[in-house]
Point group: C2
Chain length 342, copies 2
Amino acid sequence: MDKDITIYDIARELDLSPTTVSRALNDHPAVNKNTKQKICDVAVQMGYRSNIFASNLRKQRTHTIGVIVPRLNSPFMSSVMAGMEKEANNADYNLIITQSLETMQKEITNARTMFDSRVDGLLVSLAYETDNIEHFQPFISKGTPVIFYDRVIEHNQCTSIVIDNLQAAYKATSHLAKQGCKRIVHITADQKRNVYADRLKGYKYALIDNNLPFDESFVLITNLSEEAGVEAAQQILQMDPRPDGIFASNDTAAVSCMKELQKAGILIPDDMAVVGFNNDPVSRVIEPNLTTVNYPGYEMGEVAVRSLIHHLNGLSDIIITNTITLRSELIIRGSSLRSKIE
Amino acid sequence: MDKDITIYDIARELDLSPTTVSRALNDHPAVNKNTKQKICDVAVQMGYRSNIFASNLRKQRTHTIGVIVPRLNSPFMSSVMAGMEKEANNADYNLIITQSLETMQKEITNARTMFDSRVDGLLVSLAYETDNIEHFQPFISKGTPVIFYDRVIEHNQCTSIVIDNLQAAYKATSHLAKQGCKRIVHITADQKRNVYADRLKGYKYALIDNNLPFDESFVLITNLSEEAGVEAAQQILQMDPRPDGIFASNDTAAVSCMKELQKAGILIPDDMAVVGFNNDPVSRVIEPNLTTVNYPGYEMGEVAVRSLIHHLNGLSDIIITNTITLRSELIIRGSSLRSKIE
DNA sequence: CTTGTTGTTGCAATCGGTTGCAATATAAAA
DNA sequence: TTTTATATTGCAACCGATTGCAACAACAAG
């Protein structure tokens, strides 16, 4: 077990003061070039490593970003994390990641942990359950920037990073209408979350603009799990007259629903056209391939971290930047394409 | 921007010494119950939060675990991360996560970052490229435990957490043989990594035990990506006589290969039986469903963190525990099941 | 020869908890 | 009443780096 080398050891070795050593290692201009070189050499040679804690303690800055995510193990969220990690790593920031597992309780605990860890900034995607964000107030009060991504909430001190969910849903639904669907079901989740609320709106507007009636019973609120997709399929099979189109808020539910319908003999896309959301790998595996909305998760992760660091460096004022919207697009595949028209 | 409250503030408020406050907040036995209660109350009321850096600096312990992972965005790895996060969170440890992106260079940099961050322990799954592990030596020398998971390497000071890859591959290949396959192709990756080397061994042994010849040209070394699966399919279609079974080292490649073969008119499982590895969601989406090895990623993450913490608490000696092997199992589905026999 | 400027370096305090040891009070045993 | 054990509390040093301010040297300008 080697003993740790400190700047004091280096100072003693070279008969200098710790002050000068510290300055040299931080490339401070007021240190003689030769001295600096000598110090750096000895530091390397002695196997010195800076003590981040001493430094953090003194500087009151941690170079750490906290991330709160509903669940790590979804294709979408893991892409986001991958993008975040890449950017953070590039900028020499550490990432502390915690999951809320969709409960508000955990989210509060996580926020507390992040606060105690004194992260320089916080990136949050809200849990299904969360219905207020008081637990982020301590950050705001302390001037620690909080950025929401994907599952966001309006707050006049925080930036949000999103895609245009309303527009994406509008396009998806319109596409179904243009394919001749008259009775389009929308499978989605709790309306507390912006993403689902906005998509419902987009769905509604598209119906209106395509002269289709809106029917409350055609909106299925679920947890968007695989099982939820199966249940949705069973409900849809019960409906009379039977729907002829489905717009689901994620690919997992869309795919499992589709499979269940196929099992019941429904033909896709002819009896039923289906559109999902996210562009998960499964969407390119199911037959026919699933039409879906490409959600740029990796880019969202990158942008989130980049904006945060930008702000931390004082290069932008977070209060002015209210919302950053990323581009998404409808990818049309076999599950909804009835004709070569359009 | 609120000012931070310190134990000195609390001490002054209650006319006590910082020592007593510190002890009270750490639930030290040598503090009077009433005093303790009073201190805790005031702490809460004043909005005190402990300064982790001061504490870490003094205690030389960070309560942080470092994780190095090849890529975050794969279904398997994100499950592992989810399991790790859950356990770490339960035990009040933070997780710092970095990706090597399969390069040794990044892995070295990441290791260095972790070292500078003074993580209490390190969890590593090796990059494709890595061919020596000198970069973990500083941890070993300092007595910081390093645990490898999934992509491991033999080291007499480190525990490894794995599944029995050899056996899993053996079972997968034997299963194909029992289904009547005579010419089984193995799609896998660089043999530097234990997982792929062991699976190749299992594949070989199974061939031998089933009286099938081993043919070097039937082993396709790829990066196991979606594209690699397609290319593998094209190669397979060129082979004459044509193979009649495929054992792939992950589901992504297995699925894309399968789809490409189907596109060429090959019937699965009759012309070609296919087995994958990992039990990713796609394996239950493809038609016919993919036979695969269930790899308990989530559990592996849990076990890795639990073992590490166990060791950190001095409850186990890591040097004695060489390897922890988790149970995996072959899940037989339509892609390989030609008859109801077996 | 004095004053001013620039370049280098060090002193000493500070960040906020933690902990070995000593001090004091209180209770129990002799 | 004296001695011994036990319970509480505080002193002061320490963890390792950072930084405002002062000190000093070398040199140029006046």
